[in-house]
């Protein structure tokens, strides 16, 4: 099956094309600290380039796989809108995949040059949520390139990761050390290392959401039957709603 997969949950834009037989072509855009994310400008461009390289026409794409986050709201909407538009235009299958699960899956059992040997313990996927928080989720590595969710993603301050680990261990996260991956792990390394876990080098590819993994995870999923079933995994409500509720709770009238 030919799968076009992409992820826009972080500042990066990652695209992959899985061909019949499992061959994987990848392209990604990792903006520098002073650059704007290229979700709107790079996503379709890179997808078009991968297809051209592979000699596959858009009509040849059988399944669209998209990372649902959690992550940056606008980035996720660009990715999900693009996926839904492509699937609508191609009448192709459409699958949403957790970006946190993609991070954990790639880290599980993957030998990495910067990371000392195969990882068979537990994985924390940490995606930068801004405002001093990370979207944190806990997974148990279940063999090579496979992870199962123990604690679903939630927005928390990095210094509260200890309690998230405690919760994961109560819920049968198994044994072994914790590996923390993701742009949130890089950004808050200083605060996170107080907890007993390992963070690969900043330059490790384990910190990047891999669109190839999005494609692979999508293979095992049942496609949705309606576009509107594919929505970003926001994990945060809009500020305006929360503000309105807190005004109501204080007995104010909002004016």
């Amino acid at each position: 099956m030919i799968v076009l997969g992409f992820d826009t949950a972080t500042r990066a834009t990652a695209v992959a094309l899985m061909l019949d037989g499992g061959e994987m072509l990848r392209a990604r855009d990792d903006p520098g600290p002073d650059e704007h994310p290229g979700h709107a400008t790079r996503l379709l461009t890179m997808a078009g380039e991968l297809l051209a390289t592979a000699g596959v026409g858009w009509r040849g794409v059988e399944r669209i796989a998209v990372g649902l986050g959690p992550g940056t709201f606008t980035g996720l909407r660009v990715g999900v809108a693009t996926a839904r538009g492509l699937a609508q235009s191609l009448s192709s299958e459409l699958v949403g995949v957790s970006s946190s699960l993609a991070l954990a899956t790639a880290a599980a059992g993957t030998p990495d040059a910067e990371w000392a040997g195969p990882h068979e313990g537990r994985v924390l996927a940490l995606i930068d949520a801004r405002r001093g928080e990370v979207f944190a989720a806990a997974y148990a590595a279940s063999g090579s390139h496979s992870a199962s969710e123990i604690v679903p993603p939630r927005a928390i301050a990095p210094d509260r990761l200890g309690s998230l680990i405690g919760l994961a261990e109560q819920h049968g996260a198994g044994a072994g050390g914790w590996l923390a991956v993701g742009d949130g792990a890089v950004r808050y390394r200083g605060q996170i290392e107080a907890v007993d876990l390992t963070i690969p080098d900043d330059s490790s590819r384990l910190h990047l959401v891999d669109a190839g993994t999005i494609c692979e995870l999508a293979l095992g999923e049942r496609p949705v039957t309606a576009y509107e079933q594919i929505l970003p995994d926001y994990r945060r409500r809009p500020d305006a709603e929360l503000a309105l509720e807190s005004v109501a709770a204080r007995g104010g009238d909002g004016s």
Binding site: A40, T41, A47, W58, T74, R77, T82, G85, S89
Partner: protein
């Protein structure tokens, strides 16, 4: 030629199908009625709703037009100005719809869209309003006066320096306790009031008694608009009036406030017609639905064209119309297009 267009610059999720002669085959507008309790459009909430609705609205437009995507020759979307997060939902969807079929694409300026609403053929098949003409666009998001020399181009003669005219209506309505958005409620209340009961900035009475500062003179000589002073004047007026009196004179307040907004718009339209020797004037934006404005426009010494209400407020048919008269980018030249928040201009 058949165009599929999307418009998501604010809080309406819109898709339309228009043929090469500017005849509307479908014009779907899904208004998000979720912002009222916030007293204004919340960008994050608008963006979430656009994403939920956008593909359904496209499907509905295709169904209304009785065509399949195979029969679409050009895809278009609003690129800006507007709320970037909201624009990106429509733009990303439209680019993807076009890319997958390697169709050409048109990125449309929202203001150009309001202008192009005048190029659409009427429901009864009556011909569109052809350039050259002046176009006054007044809505909750923008207020400007343009000169349209040819279909794909316009020049801005004047714009609002602060609030938009529709925003002034809504803010005034809110101060008068009419809720949000309250432009239409304010008009209703004003119907029973005396438009000359109070003197607000911009009104005829105010202009005759006007001050003469240098800044004021520069503004007077321009074709720009300003509504912030009017809003403040209403606020102060309400503060100094006892509550019972506000209730008693609400209709007069609304009528006088509305008259000041309409007067400002009409004054600039008159001045622009004089200065450019134009004889034709088109009007767009949600404020064009205002009855008092329409009445005053009718008295101008010009041929005035006001598109039907659903083409004055934000819609995708006007975006399709602008696309027909604008640049068509071949695949893959448009894949890297981004949305923009501010600025308006002809391409």
């Amino acid at each position: 030629m058949r165009v599929l267009a999307l418009e998501t610059s604010c809080d309406d999720t819109c898709a339309a199908v228009v043929d090469g002669d500017g005849r509307i085959q479908a014009n779907v507008i899904s208004s998000q009625e979720v912002h009222d309790r916030f007293g204004g459009v919340v960008p994050e909430i608008a963006s979430r709703h656009h994403l939920e609705l956008v593909n359904l609205v496209v499907d509905q437009a295709l169904a209304d037009a009785g065509v399949a995507l195979e029969e679409i020759d050009l895809v278009a979307a609003t690129q800006g100005p507007g709320l970037v997060g909201a624009l990106l939902v429509g733009l990303s969807t439209a680019k993807a719809l076009a890319a997958a079929r390697e169709l050409p694409f048109a990125a449309v300026d929202h203001i150009q869209g309001h202008v192009a609403a005048n190029f659409l053929a009427g429901e009864g098949g009556e011909p569109a309003f052809e350039p050259p003409f002046l176009c006054l666009i007044a809505s909750g998001g923008h207020t400007l006066l343009t000169h349209v020399g040819e279909p794909g181009r316009f020049t801005v003669l004047g714009r609002t320096l602060d609030d938009a005219a529709g925003e002034a209506f809504d803010k005034g309505a809110r101060m008068l306790g009419l809720g949000y958005p309250g432009g239409a409620a304010l008009e209703q209340l004003a119907a029973g009031g005396d438009p000359e009961a109070f003197s607000f900035p911009g009104s005829r009475r105010d202009r005759l008694q006007g001050g003469r500062g240098p800044g004021r003179q520069a503004f007077a000589n321009s074709l720009d608009f300003s509504f912030a002073g009017l809003k403040t004047a209403l606020l102060y007026r309400l503060r100094e009036m006892p509550e019972a009196q506000v209730r008693e004179r609400a209709a007069d307040l609304a009528a006088s406030y509305q008259a000041a907004i309409v007067e400002s718009l009409i004054l600039r339209a008159e001045q622009a017609l004089e200065r450019t020797d134009a004889t034709r004037l088109a009007v767009g934006g949600g404020v064009a639905a205002n009855g008092e404005l329409r009445r005053r426009l009718g008295a101008l010494a010009a041929t005035v064209h006001v598109p039907p209400r659903e083409l004055c407020t934000d819609n995708a048919a006007m975006i399709a119309s602008a696309a027909l008269h604008g640049e068509h980018l071949p695949y893959p030249a448009y894949l890297g297009l981004d949305a923009y928040a501010t600025g308006e201009g002809s391409p």
